[in-house]
């Protein structure tokens, strides 16, 4: 030992002792070395407590070596860069890093919440379902707020994330998850074929457990081999090597999510603008899972004390970081692998007071080595308890007793300050299972192994339950070759390494080591440490009938902590099996769900934040709108000018002015967002006949027709003018908001129901800029522009269209009107839109042209009683309901919605029907969505008669107007309806829903 008592002098292959790095933990400066993790550096500084548990607030230290950690959760970074719940075992340190412990108040050492531990017996599994019920109001006001405050782990950041994220979409031939011995061998074999290979590992370097797993490859440490392989893969053109990249999820059709932590370990990376995290979306031809295995602990009394850790973690901390788990430890195991920990620690000068092996008389090379090294071994023994001081924060020793599954008979005390425990290893079958892979119980290994995979996943090495190096290598090579063969690639030649490893004695299962006293009384055996799930809780759940694993899991919260049960699931099943006298396979398993380890929401959003979250669609005139003070509103993905207020005008004044300009002079509207779909082909007419309630096949060329579209249920879903431009060519207009939906709807019918129809559907909304020129002077404005289109009433009648040139541009001109005025819509290719817009404005200046926005458009059409899909309709309204029965063909054999419109309820009298409403007080504008009442003076519940669908102050007639859907509305013409609004009764008369120019004279000039 040198320097700090826990930093070993000649161990720690990953740390660079020439580079000191200092950071803070709970405000205290800690000094470590480049290459350290927060866990290794803080432990090396002599501090063991790293956090507090969820329920009992017990002090906790580091248990694992990497992503299996469940106790040492920390918050990293400050303010809006704070990130909670990170694993101290994975956070790499850098100068200035700020880390804090979590879930404690006021401090890690003195945590008030620890009172819960004293009361632990009352807080048995599921206790909260049995109490906190009286008095009723207390749950919301007293108990729950208290529980919420006490629960949770870390704190959220305080502001908007300043860092950026990105996503990468790639295809590869072979994806390898995990770069231990098996993964590297698989990658070598796959890469030799020349196929595109990705190999990803969650750690900063490749090699997995090659450094501490034992065995020899080509006669040397597997680490040497791993380093050469890693270098070769990095150099190969067809291989992408990703480190700090977790293969997080496997979905249908070999769709794989990978989460890369690009810049967390080095702030200079993100400072340079590089994304902090990257989410990889991979479609892989073949997937090889080589994700290794996770060591599992054995449950013994107070096995959660800081200083009790996995044997592999004690070994790895020492070998990689030179961090000793303590001065003098005990190794507790039921298998051979933990002997490597004892041997390695001893060789590094760390005291190993005893190896406690639950097996009776195992024999193997490793055991012989341990004996030869002079290590004390107690076979057939287990740990019955842990002796601590400083409030459980320091281990002073353990109680050892013969292991006989019953009561503890005689105890021996062994002094020690840490415990390295191993209950065997569990293959990381998570990815295998994400998309429905099956697993089976292996009695030899006492754990689940992969069985069948519906996706034909390949799996190799420890992830497959093959824990020895020679086996892992062989499976790795084989999986690589098999992947190539399955992809029909050409196998490449490689010089396969040969490996050796000593034979090991069999593991004997032990899940639960009895403690002093009667079974399950007093001391806690922790199974899921973070969630404070104890063995007695699992057993209680069985007794209370929560026997299905899923019930046990949910009732006790086993496996639901941030580690998702990596170390606790199998252990928990073992404990349940023992408690119920069943076998583990009889108990079953819970489902493994993505992600394998947590994935930041930032990376899932990727670049789609702020301005790039659902990018705004802009028309060709957008810049003009901005420059001219447009007040925008979101319409679907578009942002459209609501109105154009002039200096001193509010929205209302501006809208009024715009409306009057259209009625009295001429207005210009940017209608480019209107959906435009080209329908072409010999069956185009037939197709439209099926899609619309009215007929289009008979439409003459150059003619426009307003169409209504119903869904299968007979309800209106879209409307618009469709034009026939040629015998086999139509242009359909849809609502702005419906454009994409309708294009999809048309395609769906064509592709799934009527593939025999010869029709192409091409959405062209963005290809065209389109403007409405509306008002008494509309014709004059257009005539002033140069061109070959005759706009006269005779040559260009209502509901026709012409193509030609206008202001030097080729345009499509439609004589249609949504305002009731003389009106033309002019379409021009989008890139000329602005030029035409400017030309129309210039020509219109002499005629008092003004631009108008969506609100004026809405009022103008409401004055005329024209419906808007989505305002007057809501998916329950038929063409008949809105008074457009004339547009429902009686002749056509069929169209979408026809059958439903025959249903009794759709044909019945007294449905909600569209009417107009005029309030008694002409200045009172009914509120949006107001409901007419049978008795407006009564109290709720009140019977309603229908609701207001559109409501405006109409400048054209100088009073308020509204449209409404009212039960039996058409029979109520002239009746007065009552509304209860703001405590007053408001009355309105039912009228025809056309308020202005009822004869339609204005548009026919």
């Amino acid at each position: 030992m040198s320097g700090k008592p826990y930093r070993l002098s000649d161990a720690g292959r990953l740390i660079d002792r020439s580079k000191r790095v200092s950071f803070t933990f709970d405000g205290k400066t800690v000094s470590g070395f480049a290459g350290d993790t927060v866990a290794s550096a803080v432990m090396a500084s002599g501090q063991r407590v790293m956090g507090r548990s969820f329920k009992y607030h017990r002090p906790r230290g580091v248990v694992g070596l990497g992503s299996e950690e469940m106790n040492a959760l920390i918050g990293v970074g400050k303010a809006e860069r704070h990130e909670p719940n990170l694993l101290a075992t994975k956070v790499e340190i850098f100068d200035g890093l700020s880390a804090v412990s979590q879930n404690r108040w006021p401090s890690l050492n003195h945590d008030i919440g620890a009172i819960n531990n004293v009361l632990g017996r009352f807080f048995s599994a599921g206790f909260y379902y049995k109490t906190f019920m009286w008095p009723q109001a207390f749950w919301k006001h007293v108990y729950e707020p208290f529980i919420r405050q006490a629960a949770g782990l870390g704190k959220a950041p305080t502001g908007r994330d300043p860092d950026v994220y990105e996503q990468v979409h790639v295809h590869c031939d072979v994806l390898i998850a995990g770069a231990g011995a098996a993964g590297l061998a698989a990658a070598e074999a796959a890469a030799a074929s020349g196929l595109r290979v990705i190999i990803a590992d969650e750690n900063p370097r490749l090699g997995g457990l090659c450094d501490i797993g034992g065995g020899l490859i080509d006669g040397a440490s597997p680490l040497e081999w791993a380093k050469t392989r890693a270098a070769a893969l990095a150099a190969a053109d067809n291989v992408q090597v990703l480190t700090r990249t977790t293969v997080a999820g496997h979905f249908e059709d070999n769709y794989v999510l990978m989460f890369e932590r690009v810049g967390d370990h080095d702030p200079s990376i993100t400072a340079a603008g590089t994304p902090r995290h990257r989410l990889w979306k991979v479609r892989a031809g073949q997937i090889i899972i080589a994700a290794g295995a996770i060591e599992r602990p054995i449950a013994f009394a107070n096995n959660d004390r800081p200083g009790v850790m996995l044997a592999s973690a004690a070994r790895g901390l020492a070998a990689r970081y030179g961090t000793a788990a303590g001065v003098n430890g005990v190794v507790f195991t039921n298998n051979d692998d933990a002997y490597r920990t004892a041997l390695m620690l001893k060789s590094m000068g760390v005291g190993v007071a005893r190896i406690i092996d639950s097996r009776t008389n195992p024999e193997s090379a490793l055991i012989d080595q341990a004996k030869a090294a002079g290590l004390d071994i107690s076979f057939g023994s287990s740990i019955a308890g842990v002796m601590t001081s400083k409030g459980g924060k320091q281990i002073d020793g353990i109680k050892m007793s013969p292991y006989n599954r019953g009561r503890v008979t005689n105890e021996t005390k062994v002094d020690c300050d840490f415990v390295a425990v191993s209950g065997g290893w569990n293959p990381a079958v998570h990815l295998w299972c994400h998309n429905g892979g099956k697993i089976k119980f292996d009695h030899e290994l006492q754990t689940y192994r992969p069985d069948r995979s519906p996706d034909g996943l390949l799996i190799a090495g420890a992830a497959n339950g093959t824990f020895d190096v020679p086996g892992a290598l062989a499976e790795g090579y084989a999986a690589g070759e098999q992947a190539v063969a399955l992809l029909k690639g050409k196998a490449g030649k490689i010089a396969k390494a040969s490996a050796t490893q000593e034979a090991q004695a069999k593991l004997e299962p032990i899940w639960f080591a009895p403690a002093t006293g009667a079974y399950n009384e007093g001391d806690k055996h922790f199974i899921d440490q973070q969630n404070d799930v104890v063995a007695s809780g699992l057993e209680l759940a069985q007794r209370e009938g929560y026997e299905s694993v899923e019930h046990t899991k949910r009732y006790t919260t086993l496996g639901m902590a941030t580690d998702q049960g990596k170390t606790s699931n199998i252990l928990g099943l073992g404990v349940v099996a023992e408690a119920t006298g069943k076998t583990i396979p009889e108990i079953g398993t819970t489902t493994f769900r993505p992600p394998y380890t947590t994935v930041s929401f930032g990376s899932i959003a990727g670049a789609h934040v702020r301005d790039r979250f659902l990018p705004v669609r802009r028309t060709a005139i957008h810049d003009w709108h901005v420059a001219n003070g447009a007040d925008f509103e979101p319409v679907g993905q578009w942002r459209r000018p609501y109105c154009y207020p002039k200096a001193g005008e509010d929205r209302h004044k501006a809208v009024t002015r715009e409306i009057l300009a259209v009625r009295n002079k001429v207005g210009l509207l940017d209608a480019s967002t209107l959906g435009k779909i080209e329908i072409k082909g010999p069956d185009a007419g037939e197709f439209l006949d099926r899609m619309y309630t009215n007929t289009f096949s008979t439409l003459k060329e150059g003619r426009c027709r307003y169409g209504l579209m119903a869904n299968e249920m007979g309800f209106l879903m879209d409307d618009g003018v469709t034009v026939r431009v040629g015998p086999e060519h139509f242009i359909m207009h849809t609502t702005s908001g419906g454009a994409d939906r309708i294009a999809g709807w048309l395609e769906e019918w064509l592709q799934t129901e009527w593939p025999d129809l010869k029709v192409f559907v091409t959405p062209v909304t963005e290809q065209w800029a389109q403007f409405a020129v509306a008002g008494p002077n509309a014709r004059k404005v257009l005539e002033k522009l140069s061109g070959d289109i005759d706009f006269s009433a005779e040559a260009f009648p209502f509901m026709t269209m012409k193509t030609g040139t206008l202001a030097g541009m080729s345009v499509r001109a439609y004589r249609i009107s949504f305002s009731g005025e003389l009106s033309y819509e002019i379409g021009v290719p989008a890139n000329q839109g602005r030029a035409l817009w400017d030309a129309i404005l210039e020509a219109g200046a002499a005629f008092g042209i003004e631009v108008y926005g969506t609100e004026a458009l809405h009022v103008l059409r409401a004055e005329k009683g024209f419906i808007i899909i989505g305002d007057e309709t809501d998916n329950t309204v038929t063409a008949i309901d809105v008074g457009l029965e004339g547009l429902v063909s009686k002749k056509k054999r069929d169209f979408i919605g026809k059958r439903s419109m025959e249903q009794s309820f759709l044909k019945m009298d007294g449905r909600k029907q569209l009417v107009g409403l005029l309030t008694e007080d002409p200045n009172y504008v009914l509120p949006d969505g107001a409901h007419a009442l049978e008795d407006a003076t009564g109290k709720p519940p009140q019977k309603t008669l229908g609701h207001v669908t559109s409501t405006y102050m109409s400048p054209s007639i100088g009073r308020s107007i509204a449209m409404a859907l009212i039960f039996n509305g058409r029979a109520r013409m002239g009746e007065t309806l009552s509304f209860s609004l703001d405590g007053k009764v408001v009355k309105a008369k039912v009228v025809e829903p056309v308020f202005y120019d009822k004869e339609g004279a204005r548009q026919n000039v």
């Binding site: 908007r160 489902t591 934040v609 509103e633």
Partner: protein, 416 residues
């Protein structure tokens, strides 16, 4: 049944929790029951509970393919609200919500109904108008709901993005102060324990494989554990309803799709209400454990696998990162899916059928957790009396033949 209380918890604690009884038995199926409920989800269990309690039908069984509460009841995001648009919907959801208020006490099982408040954001003018319409409908029905301003939205939910230049700025919200969440498993467990105590047999791990009819009548069900005679069958099988009803030769107007949800790692409280952002398709609340509970739109293809597509989730998360920017640095812990039973009008079916003795309760789709108590109550009444309960009546299977739809898709693009 031993009663749960602070005292029983304390008394048992002194005895190392050795004396707790089973919450429910694990009985063998009898040869015959007065009624059989297929599916031990919340709706099936609540139906059995009210059949026993309100109608004294205790010789009944609930038959469950897997473990009780393991379907959508144990997979949902537990939003409880009643601010629906159509009158029949308001009636059943508000009955349900009000039963939730006292359900912990009724069942003697803390299902943690937490009326912390629920808001539906208005992010376009159109949405604002639509929700105002719902508000008027609700206020005349007597619901305690109100429109709130962007300022109030921010006060109730400080982590919301209130930037007026946001892609979809917040123009206000529709707020139900006594909407909220509950503990889903506890609802299933509480009803199961309550029903069991009255003698109802809950038979788990026993799929129904056939429904036997004679003439136009039900006479029994085939199960993995043998044939059971019964004259009345209530099918309450959510996403699998079509499959089960086919066993009786009845076709259902239902599509089954996967709806997903996910949670973050637990963090200290940051959001004390439920926020639904329907324009961008996402919603979020925070569980008592501290996890942010997140959901959004369903997959667009039919599916029985309980595994959804990642793009659907990505869409939801992206929307919520924009709505609650601080979540960007938090992490997704776990995701899952459930098979939801969608009807064309997004309203449930609570109905008898043309087969005598065969009743069906389904179609709750993405939003039936909130309806469990009310649905169980009226469905039990319907089965017991052989005619629809007045609140169930509009939700008949026939409505699809008549076109008498109760469309709720209007009110919220995401209906939870």
């Amino acid at each position: 049944m031993n009663r749960y209380s602070v005292f029983s918890v304390a008394r048992n604690a002194m005895n190392y929790n050795k004396d707790w009884e089973r919450a429910w038995r694990s009985p063998n199926p009898k040869a015959e029951y007065d009624a059989v409920i297929i599916g031990a989800g919340g709706h099936g269990l609540a139906t059995a509970y009210y059949l026993a309690k309100e109608h004294k039908m205790t010789n009944i069984a609930v038959i469950e393919k897997g473990w009780l509460g393991g379907g959508n009841t144990g997979r949902n995001t537990t939003i409880i609200r009643s601010n629906y648009l159509q009158e029949p919907s308001i009636a059943i959801y508000e009955l349900s919500r009000s039963l939730y208020e006292g359900l912990s006490q009724e069942l003697n099982y803390n299902m943690m109904f937490s009326p912390r408040g629920l808001m539906m954001l208005c992010q376009t003018e159109h949405e604002l108008r639509a929700l105002k319409r719902t508000w008027h409908a609700n206020r005349h029905a007597g619901l305690d709901c109100r429109m709130i301003s962007p300022k109030e939205v921010k006060e109730i939910c400080p982590i919301i993005n209130d930037d007026p230049n946001a892609r979809y700025p917040i123009l206000g919200a529709y707020y139900q102060p006594r909407g909220g969440t509950g503990r889903h498993d506890a609802v299933a467990w509480g009803y199961a324990r309550g029903a069991d105590a009255m003698g109802v047999d809950i038979i788990q791990n026993c799929a129904v494989t056939g429904i036997r009819r004679e003439g136009g009548k039900v006479v029994g069900v085939e199960t993995e554990r043998g044939y059971i005679k019964t004259k009345r069958v209530g099918v309450v099988a959510a996403g699998h309803t079509s499959v089960v009803m086919q066993m009786a030769g009845v076709n259902m107007p239902i599509e089954s799709v996967c709806l997903q949800a996910l949670v973050s790692e637990p963090i200290k409280p940051v959001i004390d209400c439920v926020v639904m952002a329907n324009t961008v398709h996402g919603y979020m609340s925070q569980s008592d454990k501290g996890e942010l509970v997140i959901g959004g739109g369903a997959d667009s293809y039919n599916n029985y696998s309980q595994r959804g597509s990642f793009p659907a989730l990505e869409h939801t998360v992206t929307a919520l990162v924009e709505t609650f920017p601080i979540i960007s640095r938090l992490r997704m812990l776990r995701l899952w899916g459930g098979i939801v039973d969608m009807t064309g009008d997004r309203s449930p079916i609570l109905s008898g059928t043309d087969v005598e003795g065969l009743y069906v309760n389904c179609g709750w789709g993405t939003g039936g957790f909130k309806a469990i108590p009310g649905s169980g109550f009226v469905f039990a009444d319907t089965i017991a009396n052989g005619r629809p309960h007045p609140i169930a009546e509009p939700f008949s299977l026939n409505r699809f033949a008549e076109g008498r739809l109760i469309d709720e898709s209007v009110a919220a693009a995401v209906a939870h």
